[in-house]
Assembly symmetry: C4
Homo-oligomer: 366 residues x 4
């Protein structure tokens, strides 16, 4: 632990919040958080072309209002990998929630559990998995894995995740090297607290938790063999996260992936790449409904959820908006963010003439 | 009636106004009106992408100047559903004119009648239908219906509209749930006065006229049956407003609609939808001149009127600009707005080499 | 003559000027001229979409640099309707040069004559044709006609133009009604001086030289018959100015036009029209080299001249930039503007590997 | 030598620098350098459309992240014309490094040599070739030639270059006339120091080293014969620099060019031309791997290097960013710029699933 932790003032307030839109939340949080932490959460890579394109790309396809479709009270309930969900909106794995609020992942977990959707937990969690697992009631925990170069480390981490109740493993495959995050370089950003899984399991016991050092520990060569290994070892479904090319979707399916997670890491890895949404439809054609597709990167409104589902996603994951809710209200600030998305999605579903999530998936965008 | 009405200072001045363009009017009115009222009138939903696209989309098609077309003194007179009109420009149904001027719908009606075109009256009128009807001389009144879930309520409302002289019913089908109007949320906007039809007929006698409460009273499931019911019950022509999808146009025609009203509610319902003008041509192909097409959403200049007519509309409706005229000059401020559009349209017709409205409709845009 | 003339302070300085680019000139002149005069010269119509598009449209086609083309000292000399010219750049007809400089059209004429290209003179000249003609030495004068409704007036005007040495007539056909020039409306702009041809010949002896009154005098119905009449009456070549539609080009050619002048009046007539350059190629296909094509509207750089020639124009005309030169330096400020364009064009010709104007015309843009 | 040299304060500091991105360097240097020198280095021609498009055009093709590609530790080593290189990034020929730093080309050469890549030296070098050659150890020097109209001058210059160890000649063919550099005109920019090759060899011994005078000395008519002459006379490979048209690539290959250098002179010659990157793929098809392709103009990030290689380039050259490094840290500021590009390229290669430069070249962009 470094001196920096002493001076990182994460918010501590716990309260209900109002969500008019998620951009407002980002703006408020930008004023609330220490610069380094906010830069890490909100920033992208390089010119932030891809970060911006993640949101702009949604306007490449538009939703046609439907007015004589005879629907009312649209239902957002759905199912993925055997889990019943109140809406097709789950929590994305995101590192170091402690940057947003002193309650860290435990705060997020309590809020997500309160809403009742799937909680993805990052290898770079700041809270202990066990502590986090304790506060989650009745909802599923998916564990996100950054692979170590050492298989024994991977086994130990997976053992712990499984022991603490993970029902699926998310293999993040698009972060084999740290993206070019200029905000972090400018801020000379170092994680201001321990990350239990990193500390306990990753070789070399990282003294200085600078981003580069952490990434250096992780495995760069990820391939089909890794998917098979995780599936065999854990007997859990494995979702491959970071898929943007149809070829990778094919490889993942052939290797037995239980889900394809279309994402470009929120514009945090490779700049000059397309908006994540731009690749969704083509990948969905490859997947051809054989396994579920999760989509993240750029979801900020109910319209975006609708467009992602209508383009092939079964579920979307949100990350930054939830951390903004956490920053503003601790665990009580999390559920309002999910409620906002659900309410907004329902409104869009009504106006687009769709009664169910299956109707949304059958909708043709314009 | 709430306390808020006491403090909502609607303009009261009655005077002739100069109209250089309608954007100037909006800017002036933005300084004149209470924030809540102006936000309600001018605002759109969500990111206001669709609100902006409604106007920007007109640049997707351009008008070719014609110079040897041998025309002069272009004529804008036209006809719709048996009504002779000085121009193809009518008044759109828009709620709560009292937000713009103390004379409410009565002021608008007097001005529209002075110009001599069709007046559409909203279910959410702030003036009494009977009072409004009294000031309209020689021009037609179309009544816009937000359907209630209760058919008896619908019958009572339609009875009143018919008794007060409505010659057509506009069924608004694209507002079965309130759009995501963030300005209203920020302003915590509540209608600052009674709406007679809402108060008298809608069940539950809404105490607090917050927008959501009003919309909750309205019917969500709108279908072909509703069109047939209104037509049978009133024996009046029924226009279906809010059509943006060709499929809805087909359904409406099959159900006996007497007119298709292409609109996206002025960008006030579903954001992430195309600009209303973008859908006009495709819908016109479906309608195939069997019934008239009315177009609104984004008309701010004579060029826009021309482009809408050349893309399949028979008539356009204007809303916000008229309310701006009303705000600035009461009933005397209304006619100058219509005159502006007519004059501007004539200029465009001359420069585009078109003598009559029928010529405009035959024009190919570039 | 009105009181306004007393207070319109047109610049009076006569001096050589430096031209780095023509945008700088506009900026300087904007600070120098009375607001009304500058607004009239620089402004467009409506949203100024077409005004802006006139320049932006040039980027729709790009020039490929050529490097092994074996050219040097490119030659810009060319010929049109029998006139030898130092470059394919002539003076456009533009009204009321007195707004820019006290020397009025006489100043422009002296400068244009100094450069040695064709001078177009507007019907709305502020200087007397005879006075203007006197200062022009060795170069051609083309007279631009706004037709009157009265043929006797047209004859008298044409007689005077011919007597003063006009060698061609430019029939402006795209200004049969005044465009929607909001700047002029805001400035309540009235011409601050007499226009001799208007005063002497146009019926009704306009007291108040407001723009609308002037345009009201002009003929709206222009057709093939008018072209034949002017050609027969004057025995001079007649160029039809304002052509943007292929159909008008066809009509003009059939009626015996000696030249097609592709222009949208500098974005001053019909807003929502394409950039003038966008229509050039299609019209050139119709004209098929039977008569020369003159192009104006948006020419601000040598690159624009090159692109216009490579897209079908034989000659380009410049207007506003010349008036800016006149404003800044009187007659001595005019030639530097033409020199700027010629020098810039030569540079572009060299870099694009073209030795002659004919080579430029054969160039394919990218 | 003029008085101006006395007052041109080139930076003198020698120190290591941090490179977060090259835009930051430009910004810092803009504050550090005299206006005239910075304008010359950073500026483009005309509207700077092409300068901007050089960078923007990279977004026309995007890189697809690859995640199951099984790569790690990507290697950037490559080879061109027999030279082994640490990365496909070489130093572009650029004039007058003395504008950036008092150490002039000698400083750059020392830094480039330290990194270990090819150094291109301009005819307009401010340092003596011999002095520059002395500091270069173990890396190759390519000499860039602006041809004189006099063949004897060309021979003398080539003799000197060869004597000082040049291993290839870069014939710059796109600067047969000076581009329209408005910044230099505004700044009345004159080179503030002697350029040894210009002074010693170019006829007329230019007293006043204004840009135009220098360019006037150079040959305008460049053709296939010139390529043959240089190749025959020097027996060195000749690369043709400034190729943007497929036709020029064909002509150069037929004349025996040993390399095609795709470039638009960094947007410094012909404005209104495409971004250089836009032409790369089409030219690569013509070249068809018969000779290497070097690409410059707009390379500012590793993503750009990747996209250029994936579009047909074998090597990219960087110019301005290196001069910014030189300005900020003298010779010690040069290598960090190359390291930045190499590191960034490696990151992109990893994230795009490419192990070697050959893999990059086989990548399809999206």
């Amino acid at each position: 632990m470094t001196n920096e932790e002493m001076i990182y003032n994460a918010p501590t307030e716990v309260k209900d919040i109002e969500v008019i839109n998620t951009y407002d939340l980002e703006e408020k949080v930008g004023k609330l958080l220490p610069k380094g932490g906010f830069g890490y959460i909100a920033g992208g890579v390089g010119d932030e072309y891809t970060l911006k394109q993640n949101i702009d790309a949604f306007n490449l396809k538009r939703i046609l209002p439907r007015v004589l479709a005879d629907v009312e009270h649209p239902e957002t309930t759905t199912e993925v990998l055997g889990h019943e969900l109140p809406s097709p909106i789950i929590m994305a794995p995101i590192a170091a929630h402690g940057l947003a609020h002193e309650s860290k992942e435990v705060g997020t977990a309590k809020g997500v559990s309160d809403y009742g959707t799937i909680l993805s937990i990052s290898s770079y969690t700041g809270s202990d998995l066990y502590e986090t697992a304790k506060v989650v009631k009745g909802t599923s925990k998916w564990f996100q894995l950054y692979m170590s170069k050492e298989n024994e480390v991977n086994k130990a981490v997976l053992d712990e995740a499984k022991a603490d109740g993970a029902t699926a493993i998310i293999l993040t495959a698009d972060a084999t090297v740290m993206g070019n995050r200029e905000k972090d370089l400018r801020n000379k950003f170092v994680f201001p607290f321990d990350m239990p899984i990193v500390s306990r399991h990753f070789r070399g016991s990282v003294e200085d938790e600078a981003l580069n050092n952490i990434y250096l520990e992780s495995k760069q060569k990820i391939n089909a063999e890794d998917i098979r290994f995780i599936a065999d070892y854990t007997k859990l479904p494995v979702l491959i996260k970071g898929v943007q090319s149809p070829e990778d979707a094919r490889l993942a399916l052939d290797a037995g992936a239980a889900g394809i997670w279309v994402s470009n890491h929120g514009g945090r890895q490779l700049d000059g790449a397309p908006g994540a949404f731009e690749m969704l439809e083509e990948i969905a054609e490859v997947v051809d409904k054989r396994v579920p597709i999760v989509f993240d990167s750029g979801i900020r409104r109910g319209e975006h959820v609708f467009k992602a589902l209508a383009s092939g996603a079964d579920i979307v994951a949100i990350g930054r908006p939830v951390l903004y809710g956490l920053a503003l209200g601790g665990w009580k600030g999390v559920r309002p963010v999910f409620n906002y998305f659900e309410t907004d999605l329902k409104r869009v579903m009504q106006l687009a003439g769709t009664q169910t999530i299956e109707d949304v998936k059958r909708t043709e965008l314009y």
